[in-house]
């Protein structure tokens, strides 16, 4: 970065909140994307940002973007840096805007059960504040401990209890965001509005391409007073899927409904004594009164009508207590040269789900490779599928193997009527599939990007939008 540019940034942030040391640039050049992690085992070449800045107010964000627009400097917004889809990986010469100093809870409206917080607050920190007043957001994505509210919003994430509490878009009441020209957009905090298209949804899932989300007001729930656990084992995989569908059709609202195939079951319960095996459905109901118990008993009736055996509550309790374990899984695998592990997520309607799952299993199977999956976050319409693909290749071949896995997965998802992404967002390798899924919608999205960000400064490359798109 030139000395002049640095001085300009220092005028906005002060010298201590602008950094361009080699270690800072290096650490902010990566996120947790498997493809890039395995590539970096063999090469130190990477796109480095020019500098990192830490805004503390929305006005500083506004000044930054105005400055960047004028100078046509790319800006990448950074929360926890835990994206699995390269959402925060900067292009060369970018300025990384780390939001973690904007982490205040600015309003706790206990009466209306709405919390307003700045985008840089970590998921656990926000939940901690809510816990102190007996509330919960109910949003627990796998990397909950490491990621920020802004990351949840910009990714359009979902969590392990989203069946009951909804994914993040269901929680957002209003947003504040800064557009690339520095103007500040605020939506109204009201229970609902019929004021034309919902601008919140423009920013949700935008992966930092349209501006920077700086604050959000979110719907909260009472922290549950009761919680019940149940687990069932199905001899036939499809019987478990049917049980889930029937439960949701009846309007049951479990906090968690998670159905794992045998390899996923083995992983999930590996540390449990007397661990279950086979196809295991875990149910967690929580709430404030007898409804949780009542719903659990109705769920049991449905499950048993679908040819299963009851496993008791221990397995479900174990899963709940270790529900973030899947986020820790990759480390021991990726620590080994030649090893790879990728998480692929999709969602489909109940009519398509069984076939799609069978096709994905076939498409991703390979020698020396393990494919495991679970179905979760169900509704009356359908459910999400989360697949983990793990294996070994000769060192140096990991990236190629992962690309091949993705190609097979995306093609199968497209043919099977699933969505390209359920909760992780879109990586560069998913763009063609995204174009196909959105159709004309992709052109509209690109036009909107041009309109809002004519200089293409915001997270260039994301969604396949470069500076000239």
């Amino acid at each position: 970065m030139t000395a002049a540019r640095r001085r300009e940034l220092e005028e906005i942030f002060g010298a201590d909140r602008v950094e361009d040391t080699p270690i800072t640039r290096r650490l902010y050049s990566q996120d947790l994307t498997a493809l890039s992690l395995v590539d970096r085992r063999h090469s130190a070449d990477e796109a480095l940002p020019d500098a990192v800045v830490w805004p503390e107010t929305v006005h500083e964000v506004s000044r930054l973007l105005r400055w960047a627009s004028e100078g046509k400097v790319p800006v990448v917004t950074y929360g926890g840096g835990t994206s699995l889809r390269a959402a925060t990986m900067p292009s060369t010469g970018a300025i990384v805007c780390d939001m973690k100093r904007m982490k205040r809870v600015t309003r706790m409206d206990e009466n209306s059960m709405i919390v307003t917080a700045e985008a840089g607050i970590l998921g656990e920190a926000l939940q901690h504040e809510l816990r102190l007043v007996g509330l919960t957001l109910g949003h627990f994505p796998p990397a909950f401990y490491g990621s920020t509210l802004g990351g949840f919003l910009a990714t359009r994430s979902a969590g392990s209890l989203s069946t009951r509490y909804g994914p993040i878009e269901d929680m957002v009441i209003s947003l504040q965001a800064v557009l690339p020209d520095g103007s500040i957009v605020k939506t109204r905090t009201a229970p609902r509005s019929a004021t034309g298209p919902d601008f919140n949804h423009v920013f949700l899932g935008s992966q930092g391409t349209l501006g920077i989300i700086t604050r959000a007001s979110l719907r909260c729930r009472m922290a549950p007073a009761t919680r019940t656990f149940a687990a069932y084992k199905f001899a036939d995989w499809n019987d478990g899927v049917t049980a889930m569908r029937l439960m949701m059709r009846k309007g049951l609202l479990p906090a968690a409904v998670r159905y794992s195939d045998p390899p996923e079951t083995a992983r999930t319960f590996a540390r449990m004594e007397d661990e279950p095996d086979g196809n295991v459905l875990v149910l967690v109901f929580e709430g404030h009164d007898r409804r949780a118990l009542l719903e659990a008993s109705i769920a049991a009736e449905i499950a048993l009508s679908c040819h299963c055996t009851q496993l008791g509550e221990e397995a479900a309790r174990h899963w709940f207590d270790h529900r973030f374990a899947e986020a820790y899984r990759r480390s021991p695998v990726l620590a080994e040269d030649g090893a790879y592990m990728e998480v692929i997520d999709t969602a489909a309607t109940w009519s398509r789900l069984p076939t799609l799952i069978a096709s994905l299993r076939d498409a991703l199977a390979g020698e020396g490779r393990q494919v495991s999956l679970y179905v979760a976050n169900a509704s009356s319409v359908g459910a999400s599928v989360c697949l983990t693909v793990q294996g070994h290749t000769p060192a140096g071949e990991e990236g190629k193997t992962l690309q091949a896995i993705w190609t097979a997965a995306l093609s199968t998802i497209r043919q099977g009527g699933g969505t390209v992404s359920y909760r992780q967002g879109i990586g560069p390798w998913q763009i063609d599939a995204l174009k196909e899924e959105l159709g004309v919608g992709y052109d509209l999205l690109r036009d909107m990007k041009r309109q809002i960000d004519p200089n293409g400064i915001m997270n260039p490359g994301a969604f396949g939008f470069d500076r000239t798109s």
Binding site: L37, G80, R101, A143, Y145, G146, A327, Y328, S331, P332
Partner: protein, 371 residues
């Protein structure tokens, strides 16, 4: 340097590929928001150095000193990783290679000048605090005072002996000698040569006793855990003062005049709690002297948050260390507890620096108020 990194291979690699699941627990990262200040960031730097993608230079060395070694990250690690152990070992390497931050050199000079971390003649000062009788060598139980208490809050030491007297524990003498400091900060800053010289002398001075007691978890941890690790095995049993007092309290030896009616909240120090596993004795004692049991922080016991004073971190970045303490105090203000009780001089000092108006009291001084 490479052998040290290879020795920590698993720890470094597991952190490098982790989605930063402990980051919210890292007090330094929470106040700065900087990725380099997270356990992931520091370990990733170690990974890059180990792989040869980055030099072990002064910038990297500066980053590894920005860990308060509070060990809370480990509580949220499914793999029981201990990134702070890597940082401590690599600090020693940084010193060997002469790339340590300037603050470390300043500390080295300070320590050499005063023969302790606190900047006073501790030997002379302790003699002014207690009657001569307590320095007699005949006792089998020796109390090792905290340097921080001697300099910053000497009344805690006087309160300790007042309680011993009130409880008729008359077999404890107070340590005074050439070495009054365990040298914990030397080790934490990687100054191992001075640390060894210091540890050798102090361990020899304390060798003849049957029991060692201290009001400082840092002292207890150093003598009980770190000295043996570095070859200075001490035969005496070593206790924090709360562990030492509790059996006597349980026997009814503490005659409470009138229980304190102030509302109190108890803060677990990292060293006393996570590192030494002492959670209940301070609480048990407080229940005997308070009208109402002490309140708890939402994150308490194993999950207790750091005060910012650990790991010699105030020597590296005092502003950040105080911000860490202020962050912890947020909950005290919200709970309207008037008395913040801790059993660690480091925590006590940090909280006082963070808010001089707050009533921060050592456990021992709370007890002294009722005897």
């Amino acid at each position: 340097m490479k052998p040290v990194l290879n020795q920590h291979f698993k720890s470094i690699e597991f952190c490098t590929y982790c989605p930063k699941m402990c980051r919210f627990a890292c007090p330094v990262a929470e106040v700065t928001g900087h990725e380099a200040d997270t356990p992931w960031g520091r370990q990733t730097l170690m990974h890059l150095v180990r792989e040869g993608h980055m030099d072990f230079d002064a910038d990297v060395a500066a980053a590894i000193y920005r860990c308060a070694t509070c060990s809370l990250c480990t509580e949220y690690c499914d793999h029981n990783n201990k990134p702070y152990e890597v940082m401590l070992d690599m600090r020693a390497e940084a010193v060997k290679e002469g790339i340590e931050p300037s603050e470390v050199e300043e500390f080295r000079q300070f320590y050499s000048q005063h023969n302790n971390s606190y900047g006073d003649n501790l030997q002379a000062r302790i003699k002014t605090l207690l009657p001569e009788i307590y320095f007699a060598k005949s006792s089998q139980v020796i109390f090792v005072p905290s340097g921080s208490h001697i300099v910053h809050n000497p009344s805690v030491i006087q309160d300790t002996f007042k309680i011993f007297e009130a409880m008729e524990i008359d077999h404890v003498s107070c340590h005074v000698g050439e070495v009054m400091d365990t040298g914990a900060h030397l080790r934490e800053l990687g100054l191992m040569e001075q640390y060894h010289a210091n540890a050798k002398k102090l361990s020899e001075a304390l060798a003849g006793y049957k029991t060692i007691v201290s009001g400082s978890p840092t002292v207890v941890y150093e003598l009980k855990v770190m000295y043996p690790k570095f070859g200075y095995e001490l035969t005496p049993k070593i206790y924090h003062v709360s562990e030492f007092l509790w059996p006597f309290v349980r026997q009814g030896r503490l005659k409470v005049r009138r229980r304190l009616t102030q509302k109190a909240i108890y803060h677990d120090s990292c060293r006393l709690g996570r590192d030494l596993g002492v959670y209940d004795p301070p609480r048990d004692i407080l229940r005997e002297v308070l009208a109402e049991p002490p309140a708890e922080f939402a994150r308490n016991r194993e999950k207790s948050e750091c005060c910012g004073g650990q790991g010699a971190f105030p020597w590296i970045d005092q502003d950040a260390s105080i911000q860490i303490a202020q962050r912890r105090l947020g909950e005290v203000y919200e709970s309207e507890k008037r008395l913040l009780v801790t059993a660690c001089p480091m925590c006590e000092r940090q909280f006082r620096l963070a808010d001089e108006k707050l009533d921060v009291v050592d456990l021992v001084s709370v007890v002294a108020r009722v005897v």
